[in-house]
Symmetry: C2
Subunit: 354 residues, 2 copies
């Protein structure tokens, strides 16, 4: 990426028109959660006038405004697209907002399938104003077929895996990375999806890579992320039982060659989201990951991250105890109860590699 557009150095306005707080604006939520000092405003006319925390329960002090024009008073340097348009095409109304942002010398950060940096009108405009259009999903060129080189790195590599999409693999990974840093370890996070890349500033959206090279992309992330770091937590994607994305998941497992895995789940989820596929019992899922890792590089699941956002505290604690009893592994909800148990689990295997 162009270093001028590092999100951690920007004043960001997040575009979430009509969507703040619903699933389609997951990107907006993630940016508010992890770049609270950078997000200066969120655009959503339906919630204009509120504080972001009134809608999301996080992001206190960040205003929701009705339009980009209204956000200009915060002197933003970047517009981040925080929603996915239905159909994947850029809506006409958004194009106008993008043009307005570029005209005000703002960089644009986008996780859309459609690459804005290949749009001739937007390119010309950005070039005139000296701003960067960063398509975080656009894969780098020259990715290799995986070569098993990820096994050669000195860092301890831990992959978050899961029962389904959107169960908290990115969030668990970031929380554990931050907590490891807090504990004095030289830890890095390897982002493999658009939201993780936006928050962390680097990575490859592996689901946008041609499938021949998807494991190679995962390998590239491990080779980069392990440089000058002792521990690398790699963001998982999808699930081995997801009818659409299981191939992405297995490419990531075999390309990243982790030393261990953290299993992520949402206890209330009984079927794969948007499909009628029942989720197998947690021990079966864990066994699948370990069995598939085995021929390429053996790795065990060493802990469980449960996403209990839709449970009461009592129910959440019960779900955590259930998971621990069933698997014999430490479990937690990293948002509610912290990532301490999982950090301990990572630290326990970490010196073993040296």
């Amino acid at each position: 990426m162009d270093q001028r557009a590092q999100p951690g150095a920007q004043k960001i306005v997040v575009l979430a028109e009509g969507s703040l707080g619903i699933l389609e604006s997951k990107t907006a939520t993630v940016l508010v959660r992890y770049l609270p000092d950078n997000v200066v405003a969120v655009v959503d006319s339906e919630n204009a006038g509120k504080d972001v925390s009134d809608v999301l329960e996080i992001g206190e002090g960040i205003p929701v405004v009705a339009s980009l024009s209204e956000a200009l008073k915060f002197q933003p340097t970047m517009l981040a697209i925080g929603i996915s348009p239905p159909g994947g095409e850029l809506p006409k109304a958004w194009r106008e907002v993008l043009c307005e942002a570029i005209d005000h010398k703002m960089h644009v950060m986008s996780g859309l399938h459609q690459f804005l940096s290949e749009d001739s009108e937007l390119i010309k405009r950005a070039s005139r104003h000296g701003t960067v259009i960063w398509d975080v999903r656009k894969p780098p060129s020259g990715l290799p077929v995986a070569t098993c080189k990820a096994d050669d790195v000195n860092a301890t590599v831990v992959l978050t895996v899961g029962a389904d999409c959107r169960v908290g693999k990115m969030l668990a990974g970031i929380e554990i990375t931050n907590a490891l840093r807090g504990a004095g370890l030289n830890a890095e996070f390897g982002a493999t999806g658009q939201n993780g890349i936006m928050v962390w500033g680097w990575g490859i959206a592996i689901d946008a890579v041609v499938s021949d090279f998807t494991a190679g992309a995962a390998e590239r992330i491990v080779l980069s992320g392990s440089q000058n770091h002792d521990v690398l937590i790699v963001e998982g994607q999808g699930s081995l039982v997801h009818p659409g994305y299981s191939g992405v998941t297995l490419s990531l497992l075999h390309g990243s060659m982790p030393d261990a895995m953290i299993f992520c789940h949402q206890p209330s989820r009984k079927t794969v989201a948007r499909y009628s596929v029942p989720l197998p019992p947690i021990n079966d899922l864990i066994h699948q990951y370990e069995m598939l890792a085995n021929p390429i590089k053996p790795a065990k699941v060493i802990g469980i991250a449960l996403n209990c956002f839709d449970l009461t505290e009592f129910e959440a604690l019960k779900a955590i105890k259930n998971a621990e009893d069933q698997t014999g592994l430490p479990a937690t909800d990293v948002v509610r109860f912290g990532s301490g148990k999982l950090v301990d689990a990572v630290q326990k295997i970490h010196p073993a590699k040296r």
Copy 2:
């Protein structure tokens, strides 16, 4: 594809310069095997003057010539690229051959990673001469994320799976399809790789699809191929234990939702080709496929296709008996001993679905 370029209706010259008979010219070998009435000559100056069968043991009566010019006397209508260039870029010498072919009003069929139909010089030339440049690896646009619709088709769907790349999954699939037709069944073959597409005239090279949509591409193949057919044999790709391509394999398994699988192996292969990954025992590999199929749609391996090209007849028969004893499943080498046992196995499960 453009129906004008259906390979089964062409007089084909295969370009295999410097490579006939070695692994890099697998495409040439496949075309000679399955389109012997269409291939009029093979270009390879190193073997010029020989009969193709002197080099490949198949293709009797097809001459090897030194250049395209020499092949023009056969009045060819298509040039097929039968080799993969080192590095993936189109060598300058080949470009000249392509231009010469187009100038002689020949279609061009290519399985290169680099899409010739996006090369402005070649496009212009082809348009001037009214010929088609067919990049068989180029995925169709608008592929979906898989939706599990492949489960709704009436045809019996059988997927060839395998221990590794290049063990005979395409070949077993075509042989079984042809034998089923010979037995009076209305069978179709669903090609998922470039060589299968060239031979069969339709399909999608799923390893060239962005990984989010790879299972969706497999689903598309099943929905198309099952129309007006009672049995569809889908060509497998890669292996669940292949460090680079396992994701393609799993996407294909979950997207195509087969009723049953044929397991393909080369008994002499002890590690994944080009990797130092040992191949697990055959029963473990079969168990992996069945276990991963299970949550989306249960499917069993019903037979084994062994590629014994590098064994004596005695050794081949022993390998087949070993496989049958170990797995309890019917096994054969479809090239050496015919596909009868596997055709029986498919017919046995076929009526069960009605």
